[in-house]
Structure formats: C-alpha cells, structure tokens
Amino acid sequence: MRSILKRVAAAAIAAITPIVLLSGCDKSEEYGKDVMRLRWVTYGMSVPADVKKIVKAANDYSAEKIGVVVDLEIQQSEVINLIMASWEYYDMVYTCEWLNPFNTNAAKGLYYDITDLIETETPDLYRIIGDYWEAGELNGRIYGVPTLKDMGAEMMFRFNADYYEGEKGMVIPEFMRFEDLEPYLEVYKKDFPAKYPMAMSKGGIAGFFFSLESVVGSLIVIPYNRETPEIIPIWEDEEIMDRLRLLHKWYTLGYINPDASALELSALPDDMPVRFGVAWRGYSGYSNPADWGFNVKTSIYDGPYISKNTEQGAMTAICAGCDEEHAKAALRYIELLNTDRKFRDIFAYGIEGEHYRYLNNGTVLRTQDGIDRYHVSLYPFGSVVNASVESVSEDYLSDPDQWAKVFDGYEKYGIYSGSEGFVYDRTRKEDIVTTVTAIWSNYSTDLSTGTSDPDVIMPKMKAEMESAGLNELLDDIRSQFAGHLESIS
C-alpha cells in the first residue's frame, strides 16, 4: 500500500515540477532580469478576446522604452472592490469616484503617497497633468494620477435624425433645455401610440443627477448654480425637482414604458427615437448610423459641469504596500501612457493593421477584427487625451484635435463647482451613510424613471431618512465643509 502511495506521489511531483519550472521561466526570463513586472488591475465589463496579444505588444514596447512590463487584469467593479477590501497585492489599480472609491480608500491608506516622487521621477507626467493633480489629492497629499479625458459632465439627447428632421421636419438644435424635449416625445407618441419614445431601464437617464455635485451619492449634493456653495439633500434643489416632476408627467402620458423601474438595460428596444448620453462637444461615438440603423444627431441640454468629482472620473493609484522601486516603475509606466501616443494606441485600439488603421486626417478607424476582438473603452487604460481620436467610419470623420477644443470649451463654458475640492470624510458617520444610501436606493429608481410622483415620494423618503439620522449626518458634512473652506481661505 505504501509503495503504491509513494509511486503515485512521485508521478505527481514529476508531472507538476516541469510545469512549475516552465511557468516560472515564462514570466521572469522573457524580458530579462532588469525589467520590472507590475500587476495592473483595471476596470472592464468583459475581457476582449485578443487582450493577451495586445499586452504582449505593449510589453515588448515598454520593456525597451522604460524597462517595465505589466500583467494586465481587466476586472469587473465587484472584483476590484473585493481586491481592495481583501488587502490583495497589486501595483497599479483603476480608481475613480464611483468604483474602488478614491476618496474613501485613499483616506483608509490603501494607496501609495506619490507626492514626493512625481516631480522628480516623472517630470513630464507632472507637467502634463497640471492643475488636474487636485483630483488625486487628499489632505494635501497626492495618492492618484488623474486620467486626462473629458473632465466635465456634459449631458445630451441623442435623436433619430431621420425621423425628426427627415420625416417630421423638426429641427434638432445644437443646444436645448431639458423641458424642450416634450414636443419630440409627443409627436412620436401620436405616430406610434403603442411605443414609448423615451423607453428606459431602471438605470434611468444617463447622467440625470450630474447637474449636482455629489457629496453622498446623488442624495446629498452641492448645486453648481448657487452663489454660495451649500450642502443640501436632493429634494431642496428646485431645478432637479422640476425635472423629476416633468419625468413623472411624461411617465403618466405614456412616453416612458410603465415597467421602466423593473427593467434591465438589455430589455430596451433598438428603435427608440430618443436616447441620452454623457460625453463632450464633438464626440462622434453616438453618431454611426451603422450602429443604430438611422442617422443620429445629438443636442446638449446641460453642462459641462466641472468639479473634483467629475475630474475623478478615472484615475490610477499605486498600492500602499509597494516598495519604492515598484512605485517608481508604476509612475514611469503611467507617464509613458500619457506621453507616448504610439504606446497609448496599443491599449486603446490594439495592433495597427490588425485591429485598427490610421486615416488620412490622423484619426483611427477600427477594423472588423478590432471591433470583434479588442473593443475596449479608453478611460480604464490611462490618458484618453494622449490616444489618437477615433472616427466611427470613413464618412464620419472625427476632429483629430478635438481635445484641445474640449478643454478650451471647459475654459469658456464650464460651470465650475464652488466646493473647492471638498471631500467628505464619512468615517465618523459611516453607519448613517450606509442607512440613508439604502433608503435612497429604495426610491431612486422610481424617481429617476418617472414612475413615482416626487412630491409624494420625497416627503416620505425625507421622513425615513430623518429618523435614520440624516440631520446628524448633514450637520457633520456641513461642519467639515465649513472647516474645509476656512482652511483654504
């Protein structure tokens, strides 16, 4: 019996050893011992088929340029949150305001303090990020590298232009007010009584609450449009209340589908004449007729709103457990993503000739292979501004210099927050925050889909939240805010 066991054990060890040795070879010797390997965890809903090929191409490039390569992991939000909560080691991680929440986790000490390294180790990165370093700051120290992209929130309607302009002779202007949407909904409902011009899922309208600066979710906010910045619960902002009332009116008129608050995104019809989006002036990603089956025209109805919150839309942080060598290597890697367009385009679009090609005007067009096998959003992979601009087709060319115009637009039309980069430290009132967030989640879907009357729901929700300690929470936030304003004045 023992001899059989010994034989089995020997055979198992013999089988496993070469695998272990070979797998070791793969990582440590491919680029030589001097090349630093980093674990980079970033966000994505799915992993594209050709990701290994792209990482190999990027590693070949960065190994030669800066002596750093990465093991890239594209993870969903729940997994990233779990990695953070379970003290797992990584080198670079995606963080933002809404996923792996930067302010909370930086306050917990989960990220490396890069304040003293960036200017000396990566002067180009320091210069390029410029004023936006504020987004990566907490209590005067820098813990995250902001991703340069659209730094403000600009909300727009996306119309079926063939129907509205072609068939109905209506004009789709470049700018509208939210309430100006009503005639467009009315005319479609008259033509197609059984359909819903503004069909939506439980997610509601994209960016609906972005007209308020978030302090605790969409519940406790700072309105942009007040002379003196003020912390208020959402029901005290008349503008958003009017929009919620309008949504409810549209719901009762049958412009919104009756089960919107119960539906997942995938259940929506393709032929909706009105959709919503959050992007920037000149963005052409919504406009490809091949995607929708009709021409799409956008009309901006709000923004661009700019605050620390919107600037924290995407960032990269370095693990607090890293040694200085790894932190420096990670910064060099982020710098390369911000300064080298050829390198940046690999993560953005894949391999030139296979996944994309350059058009004459300098923009990029994805190939069918690129669309099928490596179609990722740009923002989880570092600077969007440094990547080439994508055109949706050869007929719909984007402006290769769009970013200069977008940032210029922020200077000219931006609606800036008066909160001076305030971040609420919720540690003392975390139980109240958790409770009011749970109460908000009971009502927010019905409100943002127009299902419920805000004048009925808000007082009910307010009463529940007040008995859960909302006023205590508001007092704490307001006193921290006053302290913050005092400290910077």
Binding site: S86, K202, P258, D259, A262, A320, G321, T434, T437, A438
Partner: protein, 317 residues
C-alpha cells in the same frame, strides 16, 4: 469504560468501525475547513477592518484593525424600516416553514397512494423540476406574466374588460405571489424526503388497519403522520435555524428590485445587499451574518428543547 468496550470489540467489528470512520473523513475535513476554520472571521463583525495591502489576513484583522464593539451592527437598526425588514424575514420564513410542511406532507401522502408507477414518476418529476430552475430565470418568466403592457395576465384582464394592473407597483399582491412561488419551487424537493419516509413505513401496519376497516383519513391520522413525526421534526428544527436568512433570488430578483414593492419584499439579506452594494465592507456584512446566525442558532436550540419535551425521539440533540 469506553476503553473496555472498545477492547471488547472483535477484530472484524474494529475493522468495520475503522472503515466507517474513514468514510466520514471527507465530511469531517470539509466541515473543519469550510465551517469551523473560518469561524475566526466572526472577529470582522467587531472590528473596524482596515487592511494594509500586502500584509497577512491575521495581521490585518487582529493587529491593524481596532476593536469597535457593536458599532458595526448599528446600521442594521438605524433604518426606520429595520423593523419591517426583520418582520418580513420572520413572516415569510414562518409561512414557508408551515406551508412547506403542510403542502409537502400532503402531496407526499397523496402521491404514496398513487400506484401507477409511470404516472407517479411523472408527477414526482413535475413537482421537483422547479427546484432546479434559477430564480433569475423564474424572475423573467414571472415578468412575462406580470408585465404591465406585455404581460399575459394583463392581456387576459383587458380582454375581460378590466383595467390592466401595474403589478410591479402594487405591493398588496406581492406577499401572495412570493409565497406561491416559494412553495411552487421548493415543495417538490421536500416532498421527496417525506415520500421516502412514507415508503419506509412498515406496510403491515396499513394492512392491519385496512382489515380493521380504517378509512384513508384514519390511516393517515393514526399511522402515516405519527410515523412521519421524526422527519417533520428534523426538517422543522433545521429550517428554524435559518429563520433570519432568506432566499436573495426570491426577494430581490423576482420583484426586480422595484422600489414600490420594498415594504413587502425587503428581507434582511436584501437590505444588507442594498446597503453594502457600493462598497465591500467586510465588517458590516459580517455583523449582519453574525446576527442571522446567532438568532438562528438560539431559535434552533429553543425549538429543539421544546421538541424534546414533546417527543424525545424527534429531537435532534
């Protein structure tokens, strides 16, 4: 004493005992690894868990994280809806336990009277099948019935001249819907357990009763139910242990997290999920799990004591 009795065992009996012990080993190891070893995690519920990346779990939990007493439990009771959340959990579980026993036992008794093998197998399979369907799938099947504009039920109502109902905005209907769905899904499975117990009842008891002229109901009352009592007691006591837990799929997926239905669909598990879905707060979720397990454990012990007083043989311990 134990030594002597062990010593008095014959060689073959000892061998048999050893073999039985070895057979239990996988289960013992499994329970040790997955049920007893993780018990140290209870500490999460009383700690402000602040891990340092790259350090070990023990260092992070026991050295880096401070004790905070019962602070992690407070979010469970701050919500004015907490009372209704806990009552919902207890209400549904009580109904499920009682209805589960009544319906399953009744079906098992009726099925045991069916002597046509193929028909019996067909009924058995039909009743057990829902147990293996995921709640997500069931949620969409229910939506096909209850959708306001596309649902089957509203089509029928409209055809009959009645107004369509916005089911996902009508909390008054959902207690019944959830109870029916739970019974529909789980009854078949528990029925199999009762059916097995009925099959094991000595048939001569029924033959003797038939000779004495006992009716069907008398046979059920005086033979089947008393014989089933230990099985019913076991399943009852075990389900009491999880009376504070609820099936997340049933209470979150099926009502599609509709805000208007929260008053009747929100149970403790759903509340905890909704409270913590944006952040992986281990301490808060451990506090909720600890509360559920503690209450379940206490109720389990109490129900076991009561059962033992009523019928010693039916108690678990």
């Amino acid at each position: 004493m134990a030594k002597r009795s062990h010593g008095s065992l014959s060689a073959s009996a000892r061998k048999e005992r050893r073999q039985l012990n070895i057979m239990t080993l996988p289960a013992v190891i499994w329970y040790g690894l997955f049920c007893y070893l993780p018990l140290f995690g209870i500490a999460f519920a009383f700690k402000d868990f602040t891990p340092v990346p790259g350090r070990s779990l023990f260092e992070n939990l026991f050295i880096n994280s401070p004790w905070v007493g019962l602070r992690n439990f407070s979010y469970l009771f701050r919500n004015p809806l907490s009372r209704s959340v806990i009552l919902n959990t207890l209400f549904y579980n009580s109904i499920f336990i009682v209805a589960g026993i009544v319906v399953s036992v009744s079906l098992a008794i009726l099925l045991s009277e069916v002597h046509q093998k193929k028909f019996r197998a067909l009924v058995q399979m039909t009743l057990v099948l829902p147990y293996f369907i995921s709640w997500v799938v069931i949620a969409y099947c229910v939506y096909a019935f209850l959708s306001t504009d596309l649902g089957l039920i509203n089509h029928i109502l409209t055809a009959l001249g009645a107004d369509p109902v916005q089911w996902y905005q009508s909390p008054e209907s959902w207690r019944g819907i959830l109870i029916v769905l739970e019974i529909w899904k789980t009854t078949g499975y528990t029925m199999i357990i009762y059916l097995c117990s009925i099959t094991n009842i000595d048939r001569t008891l029924y033959e003797a009763a038939a000779l004495d002229g006992a009716t069907f109901l008398q046979r059920v009352r005086f033979i089947t139910l008393p014989q089933l009592r230990p099985t019913i007691a076991t399943l009852f006591i075990l389900s009491i242990g999880s009376i504070m837990s609820s099936d997340f799929g049933l209470f979150y997926q099926v009502p599609m997290d509709s805000g208007a239905l929260q008053e009747v669909t929100q149970t403790l598990d759903v509340y905890v999920y909704k409270s913590l879905m944006y952040e992986a707060n281990f301490s808060y979720s451990s506090a909720a799990a600890f509360l559920q397990s503690s209450v379940g454990c206490i109720l389990l012990v109490i129900s076991n004591i009561i059962t033992r007083r009523i019928d010693k043989d039916s108690a678990l311990i």
